[in-house]
């Protein structure tokens, strides 16, 4: 009882800090970093639903990111439809696309599932590179800048983008929380622990995996729309970039796979590291950011596979054990 009210209080404080942050910090460089952190937290949260709870380790989430991005952009440029609607449509397209992709990839388990997901994202990128009549081909396109146009998901100040992506992250966390609390969450964890055993006790594993893949793809699609609206540009290597798939998995693993806040904590660590590296070394040294990411990932896997959240939980558990002793002391 007490711990849950502490949690709610912490959540309220966190929300207030996050809501006032862009009003206090005016540097657009800093707000850009905050937006990146919130965006990749959101993508990590979406990945974590499938990769963290059900342990279906996808490295192909760029497929859904790209589909979301292209859906809203095509709707906006060719039909003049607001990207707000495009964003929802992009999520739906991504969710529908996850059905055939999942149907194929779920035939494989473990590492080969991972490889199949990489291949599907790469294949989609090639398709968009090839068909120039359909979606601007390899050249991509810039998204028309309408100035301040909130109904078209375009703003003149970065703070507004910040609030949009903060809202997305809140949505992702809320969905994760709801799933965690429901029977679905338990089924997913059971599948992640041992798929055969879960099926033996009556969990419909194929259906569960399909459903969570759809939810995960839907959320990733929303992120895609947001990203291209934010940078005003789209081309296949941007929309279907393997690095997006990698970072989605990376932030969740570093932060703590299969935990509500893991992807957020992981993103804060990785993106802060990356921003510091960039300010020290300049952006000219290609490769340094991913070299450092790879080292962090290896360190986490070898020494703390439960991620930073696992570490935090251990510390909390240790403190709880010690508490009664402190009280009984004279």
């Amino acid at each position: 009882m007490q711990s849950s009210s502490v949690k709610i209080a912490a959540l309220v404080v966190l929300a207030m800090v996050l809501l006032t942050l862009p009003q206090v910090v005016k540097s657009s460089f800093a707000i850009d970093i905050f937006i990146r952190i919130l965006l990749f937290s959101f993508i990590g949260v979406a990945w974590n639903l499938m990769g963290g709870y059900a342990k279906q380790l996808s490295l192909g989430h760029a497929a859904y990111f790209g589909l979301g991005a292209y859906t809203s952009t095509i709707m906006q440029i060719d039909f003049g439809i607001s990207p707000w609607i495009g964003m929802a449509a992009g999520g739906v397209v991504a969710a529908i696309a996850s059905l055939p992709i999942g149907w194929l990839c779920f035939r494989l388990r473990g590492p080969y599932f991972t490889i199949a997901t990489i291949a599907t994202a790469q294949a989609l990128m090639l398709i968009f590179l090839k068909f120039r009549d359909f979606a601007w081909g390899a050249e991509g396109t810039t998204i028309p800048n309408l100035g301040s146009s909130p109904l078209m998901l375009q703003f003149e100040n970065r703070a507004s983008y910040y609030y949009v992506v903060l809202g997305l992250l809140a949505l992702g966390l809320f969905i994760t929380y709801k799933i965690e609390q429901s029977w679905m969450g338990y089924y997913l964890v059971a599948i992640g622990e041992d798929e055969d055993a879960a099926e033996a006790i009556g969990v419909n594993a194929p259906r569960m995996k399909r459903d969570i893949y759809m939810i995960s793809a839907f959320l990733t699609g929303l992120a895609g729309t947001f990203y291209v609206q934010y940078i005003y540009f789209i081309d296949p290597p941007t929309a279907f970039n393997l690095n997006i798939s990698i970072e989605a998995a990376l932030v969740a693993i570093v932060g703590g796979i299969g935990t509500l806040w893991g992807p957020v904590i992981g993103t804060v660590l990785l993106e802060t590291t990356s921003a510091l590296l960039q300010s020290w070394l300049g952006s000219s040294t290609g490769g340094i950011q991913l070299t450092v990411y790879a080292l962090i990932l290896m360190a986490v896997i070898l020494w703390r596979p439960t991620g930073l959240m696992g570490f935090v939980n251990e510390v909390i558990a240790r403190r709880r054990e010690q508490k009664p002793r402190v009280r009984t002391a004279p």
């Binding site: 342990k55 380790l57 494989l108 473990g110 080969y112 199949a116 490769g287 896997i301 070898l302």
Partner: protein, 289 residues
């Protein structure tokens, strides 16, 4: 028309030999150590850079540098297995996938930092030479690469089937628990398997160098091909991986010839998707053969 097809098939088979070296490595590690090495392509890249620097600094012919790149990568492989992979073996997939994936990311970006993204090439006396049979054209460097690749694949097969260590590897692949009871030390066997697989990747790197450029991302081309070939040829099956690699080479080459220069990857993905849809267990069956 027929000659174009035959020429495309020959080109495909020749490059397929290189794909085979990479896929046999992937399938050997999968069969014995039971993990997928996402970094296999980066070891091809390392083999290529070793060959490039040996040629550039000491004028060593790429074919001779096989005798350096293979042992270097064998030792590197045994060390990686002993100090990294061994710590994550077990029923949990996550650490295994992401450890080798992190290794791939690390090696690739280190190469980018150390050697820049420039393309490095080696020009040998046989780089441009070719045999002509009628209208058919067979580049010498590619033919040599193919013959050596097949010889190495054959040597691995003989090793797996006739030597005690090779038999121990196959035993450990088929029934790991029983193999331990028979007195086979799994750590030793795993280190040799990982080392051998990396030596094959190093060989692929050296053989490629006379006709292919080295750059940090070069491994990705080969590893993707190898993964598809390994699924197609049934996971853990050496002969299956060999045959599937040659098929992939031919399919890619026919795609380039008849669909367009940049359609090679599309053919590869199409083959993967068809395999998954209709033959998810690959064309054959079983473990390391």
């Amino acid at each position: 028309m027929l000659e174009t097809v035959v020429q495309a098939v020959i080109n495909g088979l020749l490059i397929g030999g290189i794909y085979a070296l990479v896929s046999i490595g992937v399938t050997l590690i999968f069969g014995v150590v039971k993990i997928v090495n996402f970094a296999q392509g980066e070891f091809v890249m390392i083999g290529m850079y070793i060959t490039f620097f040996l040629f550039n600094s000491f004028g060593i012919d790429p074919l001779l540098s096989l005798f350096i790149s293979m042992p270097v990568l064998f030792v590197l492989g045994a060390l990686i297995q002993h100090f990294l992979i061994r710590r994550v073996l077990g029923p949990n997939d996550m650490p295994q996938i992401f450890l080798t994936f992190a290794l791939s990311l690390l090696l690739l970006n280190l190469a980018l930092l150390l050697f820049s993204a420039n393309y490095r090439t080696v020009h040998t006396s046989y780089s441009d030479a070719a045999f002509h049979i009628g209208d058919l054209y067979i580049p010498e460097a590619k033919l040599i690469a193919f013959v050596v690749a097949m010889a190495l694949s054959g040597a691995l097969w003989v090793f797996l089937h006739t030597t005690d260590l090779g038999k121990a590897m196959r035993a450990a692949s088929q029934k790991p628990d029983v193999a331990v009871l028979m007195g086979i030390n799994p750590n030793w066997v795993f280190a040799v398997a990982f080392g051998a697989a990396l030596a094959l990747a190093g060989a692929a790197g050296s053989l490629l160098m006379p006709f292919y450029s080295a750059y940090p991302f070069v491994g990705q081309v080969f590893v993707l091909m190898a993964f598809v070939a390994v699924v197609l040829g049934t996971l853990g099956n050496v002969i299956g991986a060999l045959i599937a690699s040659l098929m992939m080479g031919v399919a890619e080459s026919l795609g380039i010839q008849f669909v367009g220069a940049d359609s090679g990857l599309i053919v590869v993905f199409a083959m993967l998707l068809l395999t998954l849809a209709f033959k998810p267990n690959g064309l054959g069956g079983g473990r390391v053969r």
